[in-house]
């Protein structure tokens, strides 16, 4: 995979998740960061840090990105969310507009 096709998402603890740009763009917030010309440093480096989002939550979000793409292409599976993380995940999803 070419580097320009991916984006690096960094959690509060500094864990890095490298995902397809296409997947990350499921989030409107990330899409805006990556596509608005010049206004974000993220656009150049292809790296976004989320100091408010913990590693397990960010991991779940990355899973959701891929699940969402699959779902849109017709593979309708269930996206399981453990009750323990619903609140945190809800807030992160709200922030990311996803």
């Amino acid at each position: 995979m070419k580097k320009e096709d991916t984006v690096k998402l960094v959690s509060a603890e500094g864990f890095e998740f490298v995902v397809d740009k296409k997947a990350a763009m499921v989030s409107h917030t990330i899409r805006n960061m990556l596509t608005s010309p010049g206004s974000f440093a993220e656009t150049q480096h292809g790296e976004v840090t989320f100091p408010e989002i913990s590693t397990p939550i960010l991991e779940k979000i990355c899973q959701y990105f891929y699940w969402s793409l699959q779902f849109a292409s017709g593979k309708e599976t269930e996206f399981h969310i453990e009750p323990e993380i619903t609140l945190e995940l809800m807030m992160a999803a709200n922030y990311l507009h996803t």
Partner: protein
């Protein structure tokens, strides 16, 4: 799972899947306190609709919820109020129609029994139909930010001093709206007392300081004297429907007319004379309803002088469309031609009046008209073609008319027409309507022969059949679609009389949701 559901929705769904899930996340107090209001409100609403709310769950939401709507819940009682009284950021609380919300419960809500008086942010309180009286009403003073209060259908007869903006005391018996200090009502901009029984209306209302009052609904009330209207200089909306207003009392209405934009006089005893009193006093009037009154064609002259009018409802009146000029054998004067002075007129309702074809000719001059409602046994296609020049029409009602297939098919609807209401035009055949629909697909036709999209789920319709064919009990419309897979022409089941009854029942296929209105034979 629905397509395109966002992660937030999925999370709310997971969180409210069952009470076990709730038990797991409810311990995360810190996280809950950080939850944005909009998310907390959504989560709270979903818990309520999944019937997972209980007093102990309420507690965990006390720092994150803005809006609570528990209307109609019989389980909501004083215990719930104790917890709700701790909702620090609560703006809006709807506990209408909760039969266990009484004075006692309200005292708990107001924090009277707790040390830290709370609900300081509460702006909107809806107690419609609950079991409260003046004792409970005394607690309203504990809510300093209260602006919108609904206590309709309660036993409250007098209000404590309050500075609120909107008050609904419909169907209450009203002794006084404020006790003592009358300047307290200076902030009131909207007052709804429909169906209220005043002990002494003029006394109650004329002592109020109502400089800000813009919206007044006294429909169906027992008010018999309207002197208080003289003080309402800023009134924009006045509803006198089913009130005791008469021609002789119209002076008072006129005195409040300067800024009036909406006036509803329907279902009263007024005649055309009442309009002559209003002339010149309502320069800003945009919307007038005279439906079900005794007004006749002479009123049209007065109406036409209120040049700001956009919407005129003259349905069920004595309008005939012409006035006798007094001389015998002379031409009748077409009274509707006066309306062409109303250059802003967008909507005209002449349903169930006595107008005939020739009287409707002047309507062709009302070129700004967007909505026209006609319903009469006297009308024929002549009228339909007379109004063909109204190019801005979006809604055309032509109900109960003697309209033939040929008449319909030779009519060219204006380009913007969205709805063509032909209910009760009993001469039309299904074929004619279906070819009209095919030709003008942008027009939604309403007629018993048409299967409208909005009742798709209820009505099954065979193209060759003239009637809705279903054997399934109509009282459970949802089952119709699933169980009625075969289309059977049941016309043979009914006698000609019954079929005619079906035909003439006004738009029975459009009102299936109002099942009580269905003709007997369809309710089998």
């Amino acid at each position: 799972m629905e397509k395109g559901k966002g992660l937030v929705d999925l999370c709310i769904e997971a969180a409210t899947a069952c009470s076990e899930s709730v038990d797991i996340w409810r311990r995360q107090r810190r996280t809950l306190e950080r939850l944005p209001f909009q998310l907390a409100d959504d989560l709270f609403r979903r818990l309520h609709s999944r019937r997972l709310l209980s007093p102990s769950i309420l507690e965990i939401f006390q720092f994150c919820v803005n809006e609570v709507d528990l209307r109609g819940e019989s389980c909501v009682d004083a215990e719930w109020m104790v917890y709700l009284s701790a909702f620090r950021y609560l703006h809006s609380l709807n506990i209408a129609d909760c039969k266990n919300v009484n004075n006692f419960a309200l005292w708990h809500l107001s924090g009277t029994y707790s040390f830290d008086g709370v609900l300081t942010q509460l702006e909107h309180l809806d107690l419609w139909g609950s079991e409260i009286s003046n004792v409970g009403a005394a607690t309203f003073e504990k809510f300093p930010m209260l602006r919108i209060l609904n206590i309709a259908w309660t036993k409250v007869t007098r209000m404590p001093i309050l500075s609120i903006a909107c008050l609904n005391m419909s169907n209450c018996t009203i002794h006084s709206i404020v006790d003592g200090d009358n300047t307290a009502t200076a902030t009131l901009s909207k007052l709804i007392v429909t169906g209220a029984a005043f002990i002494d209306a003029d006394q109650v209302l004329s002592i109020l300081q109502l400089d800000c009052l813009k919206f007044l609904d006294i429909s169906c009330s027992n008010i018999g004297s309207f002197n208080f209207l003289v003080n309402l200089r800023n009134l924009e909306h006045l509803n006198l429907r089913y009130s005791q207003i008469t021609d002789g009392l119209m002076e008072q209405v006129a005195s409040a007319g300067e800024k009036l934009r909406y006036l509803n006089l329907s279902n009263t005893k007024i005649t055309s004379h009442a309009l002559s009193v209003l002339v010149g006093c309502v320069p800003n009037l945009e919307n007038i309803s005279l439906s079900h009154t005794l007004v006749d064609d002479t009123s049209l002259l007065y109406i036409s002088m209120a040049s700001s009018l956009q919407l005129v409802d003259l349905s069920n009146t004595r309008i005939r469309g012409f006035v006798d000029s007094g001389r015998e054998n002379s031409d009748k004067m077409l009274s509707l031609s006066a309306l062409q002075n109303l250059t802003n007129l967008k909507s005209l309702n002449l349903e169930d009046t006595k107008v005939m074809d020739e009287a409707l000719q002047p309507l062709s001059l009302l070129t700004e008209l967007e909505c026209l409602y006609l319903k009469s046994d006297f009308l024929t296609e002549i009228s339909l073609h007379a109004i063909a020049s109204l190019q801005k029409l979006r809604f055309l009602g032509f109900r109960g008319a003697v309209l033939t297939d040929y008449g319909l098919l030779s009519y060219r609807p204006p380009p913007l027409l969205c709805v063509f209401d032909l209910r009760g035009c009993w001469l039309l055949s299904a074929n004619a309507i279906s070819s009209f629909c095919k030709k003008y697909q942008q027009v939604q036709v309403r007629h018993a022969h048409v299967n409208n999209p909005f009742e798709d789920e209820i009505v099954s319709y065979g193209t060759s059949a003239s009637f809705i064919t279903t054997k399934v009990p109509m009282s459970r419309p949802r089952t119709v679609k699933s169980s009625n897979t075969s289309f059977v022409d049941e016309r043979m089941k009914y006698s000609t009389e019954e079929l005619l009854q079906l035909e003439s029942s006004t738009g029975f296929s459009f009102m299936l949701k109002d099942l009580d209105l269905l003709p007997e034979i369809l309710r089998k």
